[in-house]
């Protein structure tokens, strides 16, 4: 599980590297764009985390160069630029995800995890199953323990997102981005209300809850 962090803010990088190592990742750090690109091209990494504004070669250029060389390593862009447009151009340049500084460390962890497992998540399947919870992607119906569960369209999308990543933390920001296509954080914790409704539909009346809250991070679906 090797990560490459390209970040010119050395102090912040030091903390990030430390935090990531403590979470079981093997991390290499590169202080500028040129060195980072060299490393990215010479070794294989699972996920590259690159600051958008870097000395010599900026984050978007690194992505472009990698993609030109048919290197599909997922890249997570960190940026101090915060407008919606920056995010959109970052993603259009071929970045796989985009995180605006300052971010919660849990958010970074969740996103790295999502990028690592992304490759396996997108196989062509029409049914997803976690424990006794099952959804049919064609009929858009959900069943638990063989019993049909009534879900609204958005609740189904939310559940599908979680079921495609069992055991992975999904942060509120990730859910807003992926399920609602909103790239900004509303003031109120609007996601929590939706999750509690979904939880009511899925877990009420069953002894083993499947949706769990991860304190300070988000939600996870697991046995």
């Amino acid at each position: 599980m090797r990560l490459l962090l390209i970040e010119d803010d050395l102090q912040a990088a030091e903390y990030l590297v430390k935090g990531l190592r403590e979470n079981g990742y093997e991390v290499e750090h590169s202080p500028d764009g040129r060195d980072g690109l060299d490393k990215a091209l010479s070794k294989r990494y699972e996920v590259i985390i690159a600051d958008r504004q870097l000395p010599y070669v900026d984050g978007l250029q690194i992505i472009t160069t990698l993609r030109e060389k048919e290197d599909r390593t997922p890249v997570l862009i960190l940026s101090a630029l915060g407008t919606v447009d920056d995010r959109v151009t970052g993603l259009r340049a071929g970045g796989d995800d985009y995180l605006t500084k300052p971010f919660a460390f849990a958010e970074l962890l969740a996103r790295i995890e999502a990028l690592r497992r992304r490759a396996s998540a997108h196989n062509e399947t029409t049914r997803l199953k976690v424990a006794d919870l099952e959804i049919d992607l064609l009929t858009r119906k959900a069943y638990r323990g063989g019993r049909s569960i009534e879900l609204t369209n958005k609740e189904f999308q939310l559940l599908e997102y979680l079921m495609r990543r069992p055991g992975q933390v999904a942060t509120r920001t990730m859910l807003l981005e992926k399920v609602w296509n909103l790239h900004f954080d509303p003031q109120t914790n609007i996601i929590d209300v939706h999750m509690s409704r979904l939880r009511n539909a899925i877990d009420r009346g069953f002894s083993k809850p499947l949706i769990h809250t991860v304190r300070g991070a988000g939600y996870v679906l697991k046995e």
Binding site: D9, Q11, A12, Y15, L16, K18, G19, E22, A80, G82, T83, V84, D85, V88, T89, T100, K101, P102, F103, A104, F105, A106, K154, W180, N181, L182, H183, F184, D185, P186, Q187, T188, I190, V193, H194, R197, G216
Partner: protein
């Protein structure tokens, strides 16, 4: 504006036409009078010489002179007639006393039948009459055909003169008013483009060095100055915001790291978590401010795509529906099915979200919030209405400014940036925002030009 320049031109044309008419009419009448006087002087000289003849040689000499002169008609156009008291002609070249002539002393004008080379023709004559002793009457006159022709020609020239000068004035007037209208329209269009975000554009300066150029140059200098100041402000703000983010980022990472490992007492942990939440608030405020500054600043280009505003509004309502029902607030969409416009989906979504959050925050339980998107010929309107406490009329303009809050809401959570961002996003989409009285409650109307 269009009216005023056209009206000015019309007034100018009318004034000019009146002046020319008065002038040419005066010239005509003066000329006619001078001609009449000439004729009268000629006749009087003739009369005087005939009276001399009468005084010196009596009636006989007068008749002799008249006989001699009567043959001159063809050459001088002179007319003579001497009659007895009973009207019987004694001498002269007129067959009888003309009927029209009854008065005496003043000049009279009448027509006579005269046989010219081309046959009989009416000839205008101007004459004077006087009584001789014994009741005899003398008439002395002269043909005034030439004078009449001159007068007619003068009149024709006058009419043409007035006509053509009025036409010319009208042409100049229309041209002038068109030019004024065009220049004003050019300047207005340029101003509008500048206000809509093309801040680098300047008013057009033609090389005619007229008043409009003078105005344009002055306005352009003012725009340059404002531009430099906004630039400075924006750069300062951008670097400040940027420089604040790095330490914020580090502080955050440090606290999080510390929280993960050390064995903190619950109290310390709580303090640190509260600090993290505060940092997040600062970050959020900073981000929103940066976004407002970007939207209002000169780099206003933002990626736009076809967005169905009605669709987006319904999606956001769906997002907030559970929250609204938890607070026992009715939230519904009441607008048209589909209203498409060119816009930035994320920014428009954020504007709707901010309006919904505001409404849900201030409307008490049991209240209702409705959202509508409507389309007319030239604009799309997003209307968010509630029956909450509303905003006093004198505060509606101010509340759109960043950090502006109502006195009664001081205790409420919030940054005071929500509505301000909505206003910025609306302006960024060439729109305008108004806050209205929903009787009771608040109605926010964002109009977007299509």
């Amino acid at each position: 504006m269009r009216l005023s320049s056209a009206r000015l031109a019309a007034a100018f044309v009318a004034l000019f036409a009146a002046g020319v008419t008065v002038l040419l009419t005066a010239v005509y009448f003066l000329t006619a009078r001078v001609l009449d006087r000439d004729v009268d002087a000629f006749i009087r000289a003739e009369v005087d010489s005939l009276i001399d003849d009468y005084v010196q040689g009596g009636l006989l000499q007068l008749v002799a002179t008249l006989h001699r002169r009567s043959d001159n008609w063809g050459r001088t156009g002179a007319v003579y007639l001497l009659t007895e008291a009973n009207g019987y002609p004694i001498a002269g070249n007129l067959a009888g006393w003309p009927q029209e002539v009854t008065t005496h002393g003043d000049s009279v004008e009448f027509d006579i039948d005269a046989s010219g080379s081309g046959g009989a023709a009416r000839h205008p004559v101007r004459a004077q009459t006087l009584y001789l002793p014994g009741g005899r009457r003398l008439l002395v006159g002269t043909g005034i055909l030439e004078r009449r022709r001159l007068a007619t020609r003068l009149r024709t020239a006058m009419v043409w003169g007035i006509g053509s000068s009025v036409a010319l004035a009208a042409l100049i007037g229309v041209g002038y008013s068109r030019r004024v209208r065009r220049r004003v329209a050019d300047i207005a269009a340029a101003c509008r483009r500048i206000m809509n975000g093309n801040l680098a554009e300047r008013l057009p300066v033609e090389s005619s060095h007229d008043e409009f150029d003078e105005l344009a140059v002055a306005v352009n200098e003012m725009l340059d100055r404002i531009h430099r100041q906004t630039d400075l402000l924006q750069t300062t703000f951008d670097s400040a915001a940027h420089d604040l983010r790095a330490p914020l980022y580090r502080a955050r990472v440090r606290i999080e790291q510390a929280l993960q490992h050390e064995d903190w007492s619950p109290a310390s942990r709580e303090t640190m978590e509260a600090t993290l939440a505060e940092l997040e608030g600062v970050q959020r405020t900073l981000g929103t401010l940066l976004q407002i500054a970007r939207a209002e600043g000169r780099d206003r280009e933002v990626t736009k795509e076809r967005v169905d505003l009605a669709d987006l509004a319904r999606e956001m309502i769906e997002l907030y529906q559970p929250e609204a029902s938890e607070r026992a607030i009715g939230l519904e969409y009441v607008g048209e099915d589909s209203v498409a416009l060119e816009g930035n989906r994320q920014l428009l979504a954020q504007a709707i979200v901010n309006l919904l959050e505001n409404a849900l925050k201030y409307v008490p339980a049991g209240g209702r919030v409705s959202v509508a998107v409507r389309q007319s010929a030239h604009e799309a309107a997003l209307v968010v209405s509630d029956n909450g406490p509303g905003i006093p009329e004198d505060q509606r303009e101010r509340i759109l400014q960043p950090f502006a809050r109502l006195e009664r809401d001081r205790a409420q959570m919030g940054s005071g940036l929500g509505l301000s961002l909505v206003a910025s996003v609306t302006r960024l989409h060439n729109g305008s925002i108004t806050l209205e009285d929903n009787r009771p409650g608040l109605r926010v109307v964002c109009r977007f030009a299509l």
